[in-house]
Subunit: 209 residues, 2 copies
Amino acid sequence: MVRKTKEDAELTRQCIINAAREVFLARGVSRSTLEHIATQANVTRGAVYWHFKNKTEIFHAIRDQVLLPLIDRMDDMLAIDSAAAKSEDPLTQIENSLSETIFELNENIEMRQTYEIMMIKCEYVDEFATVLQQILGNCSSITEKIQLAYERAQSQNLLTGSHTPRALALDTHLFFSGLLHMWVKDADGSRFRFQAIELIKSHINLRRK
Amino acid sequence: MVRKTKEDAELTRQCIINAAREVFLARGVSRSTLEHIATQANVTRGAVYWHFKNKTEIFHAIRDQVLLPLIDRMDDMLAIDSAAAKSEDPLTQIENSLSETIFELNENIEMRQTYEIMMIKCEYVDEFATVLQQILGNCSSITEKIQLAYERAQSQNLLTGSHTPRALALDTHLFFSGLLHMWVKDADGSRFRFQAIELIKSHINLRRK
DNA sequence: TTATATACAAACATGAATGTATGTAAACAA
DNA sequence: TTGTTTACATACATTCATGTTTGTATATAA
């Protein structure tokens, strides 16, 4: 049975991406073969090669599909003129944007899998090295957004102590980066997953006057 | 020229480990072949197979050689009865143990390479999955040590606010975990490497009364 | 209606990488 | 001094993943 219409083709493309995510997660990117992916997707390698140039292209497809939207949303939540910004103080805004991300990881299986692949099932060499630069770029931009929020908090006299918004933002970013890593590595959920939201709240409260 | 004495053999073993570290770093663990490693060490695969069962065993050798001592030292610096504990307040003790680790990463090339391999040049699946559990275990133990230090700080009335030592320790641990990741990923050093020590100081100062 | 492009499946050719088996020279023990 | 083990190098067999090529049924455009 051969698929024909455009929609059918797009459907198999999605199947391949989903299959690749599962396979990458289970076997790591390097050890995953196009045969594994094809089998998981109930197609042959022919179909895979039709839709993608090689494994790297599938990898990027997976990444773009779920990671980019997440970053966009985080950006939105931290923006000055967002809906959130008008109803909440800047610190709560930061807290919510972090919590929201954790919430998404909990709810959205594909996103969780993708995060796990990117963090502990992938070796950042050669073609994948560029992805690292992208990640660093995203980190910088998010840190800046957080910094702006802290600046607003400062001008509203919400902060304890006399720390610069820049330092606070970097500290928050590193904290969250560490949290995401632990969240992913802590697969059985015993250590971090259950208390992630509390940790975020506690982190922000350290700054509250 | 064939090597003969015990010492010579141990020397080639070390050569192989060092070669493997370089190769793992450059190509990632998965893409590194025993042939690559052998060539880099100026031996043949025969020698590699004589000293190691397979690639995984080399991986573990690399890890044990530099990572375990680091963790031990960190434990020491945070211990109640260490030399550091007697001359410094608990918060400075925490700060120094973190700074010391960063200092080591800066000075010790092998350690830096090993960290980089473990964090972004390795896929944690199958045989390597157990390493993740070890890492999580180490994290727990270090967090507990930090917590004890915060408890001492609390009883000495050094802390601002009313946060529990447990929450502070987790926050510090996550911060440092994130810092290490960024430190490693930030290969050109532009973003994090130069200011790592400042970030640590700033993180601890957030807690100081 | 027919020609062409699409969306695959199946077959093929090639190039590794692995593990093992064998060979061998020197150290060391007896 | 000779036998045995050590510490490798070399050769071999096998498996496996990749990329490409070819075949083909159907959709779609002309």
